[in-house]
């Protein structure tokens, strides 16, 4: 009993989606869906779609639902009802227009944040189902333009931002030079065989936020860490192909990333403050390649900072005294339980910490993750308006005094910046690394 869709939610124009739709026929749509259902639709797909009792207990988990005045179409299970259910019921015989809408829902109305998993009595994983829809979209070549362009960058350069091989090296050397003005004996050791740690980042860092590499180098230096960065592709741990449904490319990216560390013979990989990249290296990309867990230990920056403070590797010159709150990123909190470690680091480095509510595993998504922000400007308004609850949640923390939001994830940064601006919250957003950089003794600590 699919109700016809009201026109106020007509499909948002997008060059990628519309361009693909113009070339698709219903026959091809049906064939691709049939093939994917048969080849890749396993027990999870079947059980999830057949077990859902349509109880709506997951609805209030979803920030899209809550922010859109509880519009039923944004309830997690409703997203399945509007996409996969008809595809399965009709064995793929859905129209191209239907696919456009399904594409928009799967790519821009779900952050794959897995909050609803914690609200469904059965643990039905809506994000898994939305990824399945995206997989179908990928195989139809129907993916929003901006994120598809990013996927192309991944394929051509093995990083997210079309950063060329020389530009990457040049950026690291430039950051090293900059940092040496502050700390004369600092190095960003490139290609150091056998270092303890390979530090990997996401494509946007060298492109837009090179300062973060500088800060990481200062922290590594201050803590006396034996570390290195690769001078070859494989330095980027990010992965929009995981989110466009291009699993094969995702696997290729993860292979290059891990094999770069294996080539450098580092004992583990420490990564910057990024959530989606963590997901792709920790329990998605590695699995596609047959590695049960990451082949080398994969340590998110939060955990790394936690270790450094726990082991007394860093000492503080001062504490950060602006009252602040913490946004728990889905992919490292629901995805890796790092919330207490983040709090440990904050209590070490900051004077006044104010919890936002809900928090920890129950925190609301920033609205940017899951590749949604990467779908670009056409969907930006919808994304920000689709996360009014986040604004309310931040405003409540602000009312208690918080002026800074720590968001230890790149996507969260982007998402929260947009929200803070749109809802005029006037709060500052920082990485944990920003705070640590500001507060530590930067000279070498004797160990």
């Amino acid at each position: 009993m699919t109700k016809s869709l009201p026109t106020d939610l007509a499909v948002i124009p997008d060059k990628g989606v519309d361009g693909a739709a113009a070339r698709l026929t219903p026959e091809r749509v049906a064939r691709v869906i049939q093939i994917l259902l048969a080849e890749e639709g396993g027990a999870r797909l079947k059980v999830y779609t057949e077990t859902c009792v349509h109880c709506g207990l997951c609805s209030e988990a979803c920030h899209f639902y809550l922010s859109n005045d509880k519009d039923p179409r944004f309830a997690p299970a409703a997203k399945v009802k509007q996409t996969l259910d008809p595809m399965i019921r009709k064995n793929g015989r859905v129209s191209v227009d239907f696919m456009k809408k399904a594409c928009e829902i799967a790519f821009t109305e779900c952050n794959l944040c897995r909050r609803c998993v914690m609200y469904c009595p059965f643990g039905i994983d809506i994000s898994y189902l939305m990824l399945f829809v995206r997989r179908i979209c990928h195989r139809l070549g129907m993916v929003p333009q901006y994120i598809q362009d990013t996927a192309h960058s991944h394929s051509a350069t093995l990083n997210q931002m079309w950063v060329k091989e020389d530009e990457w090296i040049d950026t690291l050397q430039w950051q090293e030079d900059e940092a040496r003005d502050e700390i004369p004996d600092l190095r960003i050791p490139l290609e150091k065989q056998g270092a303890d740690v390979m530090y990997s980042v996401i494509g946007p860092e060298p492109k837009f936020r090179a300062q973060l590499i500088y800060q990481a180098a200062v922290i590594m230096h201050a803590a006396g860490v034996d570390w290195t960065m690769p001078a070859t592709p494989g330095w980027d741990n990010s992965d929009m192909c995981m989110y466009t449904g291009d699993s094969e490319m995702m696997a290729r990216l993860k292979k290059v990333h891990f094999e770069t560390a294996m080539r450098l013979k580092t004992k583990r990989i420490v990564m910057g403050e990024c959530g989606h990249a963590f997901r792709s290296v920790y329990d998605v990309g590695n699995r596609h390649l047959g590695w049960k867990m990451p082949p080398l230990p994969m340590v998110h920056a939060i955990e790394f900072y936690y270790e450094l403070f726990r082991d007394g590797k860093l000492s503080l010159a001062k504490k950060y005294d602006v009252p602040l709150t913490l946004h728990d990123p889905c992919n490292v909190v629901r995805g890796r339980g790092l919330h207490e470690m983040a709090r440990f680091v904050i209590h070490k480095t900051c004077t006044t910490f104010i919890e936002m509510h809900p928090n920890r595993e129950h925190n609301y998504c920033c609205g940017a993750g899951g590749g949604v922000i990467n779908c670009g400007p056409p969907y930006a308004k919808k994304r920000v308006e689709g996360n009014r609850v986040k604004a309310d949640q931040l405003a409540a923390a602000k009312a208690k005094g918080a002026r800074v939001i720590i968001a230890p994830c790149h996507n969260c940064h982007g998402g929260l910046e947009d929200i803070v601006k749109y809802y005029e919250l006037d709060m500052e957003i920082k990485f944990l690394g920003d705070i640590i950089y500001e507060c530590i003794e930067k000279g070498e600590v004797d160990s």
């Binding site: 396993g42 039923p72 914690m118 609200y119 699995r287 995805g335």
Partner: protein, 220 residues
């Protein structure tokens, strides 16, 4: 005629219903297991008994999850509904007497007035769920006709059972309706959304394993 029908429903049809229920349930779970082995083999690598049970425990415990606390009325109704749904058929004196007559086995039963009350709770639960499906917009949006039919499939054997028990007008017919509808209910469990009963331990256990053993987080 009525008598023959009664005999049929109490005899062969009951066996068929039990067979379809148990056989169908076994088949569904086995088929799904096979499919999982074939297509989702990866997930078996992450299953963890401890974390599966940890999650299942939190979701079988009333108010054990945050979402249950967020929806106290729904939680109470759903728990009462499910508990009564289980207990009444298995511990109803009338059922146990029939079983004793046939096979000479028996076990303690519920006092009749308690069973009667519980029956009405199941029916009320169905009513509550149906009302929810009509009133609450998100649930209404998710609801399809089959969801109402499933509620009816639950309500009918309970209402008709009480009817027969209280010997209200035309109760012999009610008895037949009760038996037929209960048998139908048993038979459709494995093949409709009611199979959530079969798959709950698996879906919850899998998620519990992923959250607990791999992602080191809670999922309740």
């Amino acid at each position: 005629m009525m008598h023959e029908l009664y005999g049929f429903l109490r005899g062969p049809m009951l066996w068929v219903a039990l067979l379809v229920f148990f056989g169908g349930s076994g088949y569904r779970v086995a088929a799904m297991w096979r499919l999982a082995r074939k297509k989702d083999a990866v997930i078996f690598n992450y299953s963890s008994g401890y974390y599966a049970l940890r999650s299942i425990f939190h979701w079988l415990l009333p108010f054990g999850s945050r979402n249950m606390r967020n929806h106290p009325v729904m939680t109470v109704v759903a728990f009462v509904f499910h508990i009564c749904l289980f207990l009444v058929p298995l511990f109803l004196s009338a059922h146990i007497i029939l079983i004793k007559e046939s096979w000479n086995v028996s076990w303690p039963w519920l006092p009749d007035h308690a069973a009667d009350a519980m029956t009405w709770m199941v029916v009320a639960g169905c009513g509550f769920f149906a009302a929810r499906r009509i009133i609450q917009p998100d649930v209404r949006y998710l609801t399809s006709t089959s969801d109402y039919l499933i509620l009816a499939a639950i309500a009918v054997p309970f209402v008709s059972g009480t009817w027969a028990f209280h010997q209200w007008p035309a109760f012999p017919a009610a008895t037949l309706v009760h038996m037929a509808s209960a048998e139908i209910l048993l038979m459709i469990i494995p093949f409709t959304r009611l199979s959530h009963m079969l798959f709950f331990p698996f879906t919850r256990g899998y998620m519990g394993s992923e959250f607990g053993a791999v992602r080191k987080a809670r999922d309740w």
